[in-house]
């Protein structure tokens, strides 16, 4: 108790004496935590939009479609807390810009329901005063390029045309995004639906069930099947909706994990440096405390409490800020589990990072006037050389300073190198993302459209595709499932291209398949079956054996990399003729959306044309986070520099007085200090950049390897980017180093200490 009182006094006094530095520490940690939380939220929202949409709309977990309004009380099923609907729903076709898209028109009243209520993103909700108003689901609207106020022409099953006007655009968690999930969804008032589709037999009824426990959705849907029997058209659960919305891409996980590591290391560094520098600067005071009767453990505890509290305060503020940013500005809810993990992780890192300096402080010998060890080393060879060629004295002295004061020198170099390394890694993630966008073929997305013949004859479908002016190449393909030897589950065999004209898979090891019977595989498949390049593997496709030799490894972002790719002519004819689909590679600069529209028009809507989603498309937001993280890292680097300078200057005060007495002007003294710091700054920044560059591709590839994508996606930042980053870092560091140097050069330094 008494120690707590006395210790409290000391902590308060210490914090008061270094308000600025303490604030900087708190802000750095808070910045990192906020950046991490925002990043996780955005990534989670980008890859798993369902969670957030469901939260916003109080979505239902089970959706069932019936011929008539359900006659039995589905709301009474155990575990169902609320029901949405039943709503009448009619199939229509939307005619827009010469295209025709399937849609389902849903009757909903002007008063939105409590459960599964669409959330208006633009415009307004339906209103009984505007009968011809329609609210369109957002992905459907953006696919049709609809804006609020635009006309919305529909063709009923009877062939009758109606023109409605878009009153609003809304989000819903009821079904997946258009066009991956069809038909598109639009809401009208019940009276309008009756006018468009008076025949009850041509419409169906949709009911949503909200459950107390989402995990019981499977059970509930089985009950529904039993209860409704042949009344039921179909039923699906939130899991299917989520899967349809989810971006199944391991690359995101890869980047996210890398981000987390960067953030945690940065937080640890910020604290270890601040606490470590402070403890080193305070050894005398700690010794005094001990001579007064503090035990070593108490001193360590004191330091742990002081610096740990700052760190935890930062974690707290950062959590609130990240949460606030996500909810207030981005309008998305924060996923609870990752947030807890971040908070717990950073808190642990904070305590560990502070623990070492605290332990060091606790071991200070209690003799207050222990002499400070004089700087080791003497005029280095470099400095002597400088003297020989008659460099200004400030440069010589600065050069000497840089390397004779080991502890501040180490803190400066290390404190700058690590953030710089992290910044380089951040830039690497950026350029990897750029790589996805500008070279989708390097992650296996050479083709940007997939065409299924649908009602057309495959040869005809191929002709339509080949004749399009923007289509550069057409690769026939078929996906089949194959049983692997000794595995209870099947793997995907993707036959695409032929050995004569192979699909340009991104082969990063070995070579491309060259004749029938050769295959390339993703890392995930190699790991799953314990294969390496050169091995032969025997699979079973629909009863017939498929024996191939693996000659190369591809970058494979799909299905955890558990994909085997072969030429179509490696498959048995029964599986490969006719091809299931065609992959279309477009000319550079062609807009896949336009080509898709043209192909649909050309084939009179009988083709099924799918666009490939580039993983980087939904990830534009990650760049904001990278920028934020770089800013925080830069701040950390500068804070580290200030700590090291303060420590260096404290040991330096007497020397400065001597230098001045020797006749150096304040400007020369300042130049001496800046030269000393500058050399270390350049050293630290260069070392950090070099380490970052050598690690970034390796790190991303390592992540890629463990996630099945396989090595080969990582990109180092370009030389220009790196040069600019290094120049900016050195410039900022020198500017910051100038502040204490100026103050020290101006100060009236007493000749005796104290």
């Amino acid at each position: 108790m008494s120690t707590a009182l006395a210790g409290g006094r000391w902590i308060r006094a210490d914090l008061r004496a270094r308000k600025g530095q303490a604030t900087l520490t708190v802000l750095a940690v808070a910045g990192i935590v906020a950046a991490l939380i925002t990043a996780v939220t955005l990534l989670e929202d980008g890859t798993n939009p369902w969670r957030n949409l469901s939260a916003q709309t109080d979505g239902a977990h089970v959706w069932l479609y019936t011929k008539d309004s359900p006659q039995v009380a589905v709301g009474e099923i155990d575990g169902v807390t609320d029901t949405a609907g039943p709503y009448r729903s009619a199939p229509v076709t939307v005619a827009q810009d010469g295209k025709k898209e399937p849609a389902s028109l849903r009757a909903m009243s002007a008063a939105r329901p409590l459960v599964a209520h669409p959330v208006v993103a633009e415009g307004r909700w339906l209103d009984s005063t505007q009968l011809d108003g329609v609210v369109v689901e957002r992905s459907f609207a953006s696919s049709l390029r609809l804006r609020v106020g635009a006309p919305f022409t529909i063709i009923a099953l009877s062939g009758e045309r109606h023109t409605l006007y878009v009153r609003g655009i809304a989000d819903s968690a009821e079904q997946g995004f258009y066009p991956e999930w069809t038909p598109g969804l639009a809401w009208v008032l019940p009276t309008m639906l009756e006018r468009i589709e008076p025949m009850l037999g041509r419409s169906e009824w949709v009911t949503g069930l909200r459950l107390a426990d989402p995990d019981s959705a499977q059970l509930v849907s089985q009950r529904v099947v039993v209860m409704l029997e042949d009344q039921l058209q179909r039923v699906y659960t939130w899991r299917e909706v989520r899967a349809a919305m989810e971006l199944d891409n391991r690359l995101l996980g890869t980047l996210l994990a890398l981000f987390g590591v960067v953030g945690l290391v940065a937080a640890a560094l910020a604290l270890a440096n601040a606490a470590g520098g402070r403890v080193l600067g305070q050894l005398r005071d700690l010794a005094t405390l001990k001579s007064l009767g503090f035990t070593g453990g108490q001193v360590a505890l004191l330091l742990l409490v002081e610096h740990g509290a700052l760190g935890l305060l930062g974690v707290g503020i950062g959590t609130l800020a990240g949460w606030g940013v996500a909810v207030a500005f981005l309008g998305v809810s924060v996923p609870p589990m990752p947030m807890l993990a971040i908070v717990a992780g950073t808190a642990l890192v904070v305590l560990a990072a502070v623990g070492v300096p605290a332990w060091r402080g606790g071991r200070t010998p209690p003799i207050p006037d222990a002499p400070v060890a004089p700087p080791r080393g003497h005029l280095s060879r470099m400095a002597r050389l400088a003297l020989l060629v008659r460099l200004p004295p400030a440069l010589v002295l600065g050069t000497r300073d840089a390397f004779t004061r080991r502890v501040p020198a180490f803190l400066t170099v290390f404190g700058l190198a690590v953030p710089m390394m992290m910044i380089t890694i951040g830039l690497g993630v950026w350029s990897t993302l750029d790589g996805f966008l500008s070279h989708p073929e390097q992650v296996g997305q050479h083709a940007s459209l997939y065409v299924k013949p649908g009602k057309l004859d495959p040869a005809e479908a191929r002709r339509v595709a080949v004749e399009d002016p923007d289509v550069r190449a057409v690769y026939p393909g078929t996906d089949v499932n194959a049983l692997a030897p000794g595995e209870a589950r099947s793997v995907r065999v993707r036959a695409l291209g032929t050995t004569g004209e192979p699909y340009p898979f991104p082969v990063v090891e070995g070579r491309m398949y060259g004749r029938p019977g050769e295959a390339v595989a993703g890392q995930g498949l190699l790991d799953l079956l314990g294969l390496k390049i050169g091995d032969r593997v025997r699979l079973t496709v629909g009863g017939s054996p498929l024996i191939v030799r693996i000659v190369g490894r591809t970058v494979e972002p799909d299905l955890d990399g558990e994909v085997l790719s072969v030429g179509l002519d490696s498959l048995a004819a029964k599986d490969s003729v006719p091809p299931e689909h065609y992959a279309l590679a477009l000319r550079p600069g062609a807009d896949p959306g336009e080509v898709r529209a043209r192909l649909l028009a050309e084939s009179a809507e009988s083709l099924e044309v799918q666009r490939v989603v580039n993983p980087a498309d939904r990830l534009a937001v990650i760049r904001v986070v990278i920028v934020a993280l770089i800013v925080v890292l830069a701040l950390i680097g500068l804070a580290n520099l200030l700590t090291a300078s303060a420590l260096g200057l404290r040991d330096h005060a007497l020397d400065l007085a001597v230098l001045k007495a020797m006749g150096l002007t304040p400007r020369q003294v300042m130049a001496t200090l800046v030269t000393g710091t500058g050399l270390l700054v350049v050293l630290g920044v260069a070392a950090g950049t070099a380490a970052g560059v050598s690690m970034v591709t390796g790190l991303i590839d390592l992540q890629g390897h463990t996630s099945g994508v396989g090595a080969g996606i990582g990109r180092a930042p370009s030389a220009l980017t790196l040069t600019l980053a290094v120049l900016a870092a050195v410039g900022a560091a020198l500017t910051v180093a100038l502040i204490p140097a100026r103050r020290a050069a101006r100060a009236q330094v007493p000749v005796t200490a104290r």
Binding site: A13, L292, P365
Partner: protein
């Protein structure tokens, strides 16, 4: 009466470097309550080492240390720390004060550590600073004080818990004659009130203020004797510093 401090064949050998340095080689010393002992000797003779060992700042190599009839050389580092809170006051040549804390906080710290309530600690501090003529500097930072003022604050702090023994190492080492006289007058005042003091010094005139002079040479006591006192006037007048 039992001695406040007693050492038996106290030895300290620094063995950190290439060759072991015997700094203290078998010191037997007894200090009675209320005594004022000056320790003198040439530089490197082991004076500081001895005083540090008496306060537990440095561990002894062999021998015994007794404090208030308690054997203390066997104590752990933390037990020493707890002991220091109540029984030992320290005052060094430099670096006595916690740089970040105000003068008031510096003086209150030992009292708080010893478990005194904040209110009592404050009263005690006001009393001590008042006695040392430093009341108006209570809120200053140590860096803003002169060397003499800093030493007076250090003394106030060392006395805050009425320790059994006050250990001082060159308390006037870097002070001018006026400040030296002030600090010495204070020491002599607290001595008159019964405070036991052990003081290391280089200066024979400073040492003459003590009751007893112990001379160290090469880590051994070579002379130990009472100083004949001229009982005229006050301490300040007795020692004539220039």
């Amino acid at each position: 009466m039992n001695p406040v401090v007693k050492t038996v064949s106290l030895v300290k050998i620094y063995s950190g470097g290439a060759v072991p340095v015997p700094a203290v080689r078998g010191v037997d010393l007894q200090v009675e309550p209320g005594e004022f002992v000056a320790i003198m000797g040439p530089s490197g003779s082991g004076k500081s080492t001895l005083v540090h060992m008496l306060g537990g700042l440095d561990a002894r190599t062999s021998g015994e240390i007794w404090l208030d009839d308690q054997r203390v050389d066997t104590l752990s580092e933390s037990a020493w720390a707890l002991l220091r809170r109540k029984k030992i006051g320290f005052m060094f040549q430099f670096f006595n004060l916690v740089a970040n804390m105000t003068v008031a906080d510096n003086v209150e710290l030992p009292a708080l550590l010893a478990g005194v309530s904040p209110k009592d600690a404050r009263e005690r501090r006001e009393h001590l600073l008042g006695a040392l003529n430093l009341s108006e500097r209570a809120d200053a930072a140590p860096g803003q004080l002169s060397g003499g003022e800093q030493q007076r604050v250090a003394l106030a702090r060392a006395l805050a818990n009425q320790p059994s023994v006050l250990l001082t190492d060159e308390p006037t080492g870097n002070l001018d004659s006026r400040n030296t006289r002030d600090v010495l007058r204070l020491l002599s005042d607290v001595h008159k009130e019964g405070q036991t003091i052990i003081m290391v010094t280089h200066d024979a005139r400073v040492a003459s203020l003590a009751d007893r002079l112990v001379s160290l040479f090469d880590g051994e006591i070579v002379d130990d004797g009472r100083i004949a006192r001229r009982r005229t006037g006050t301490a300040g007048a007795v020692i004539d510093l220039r």
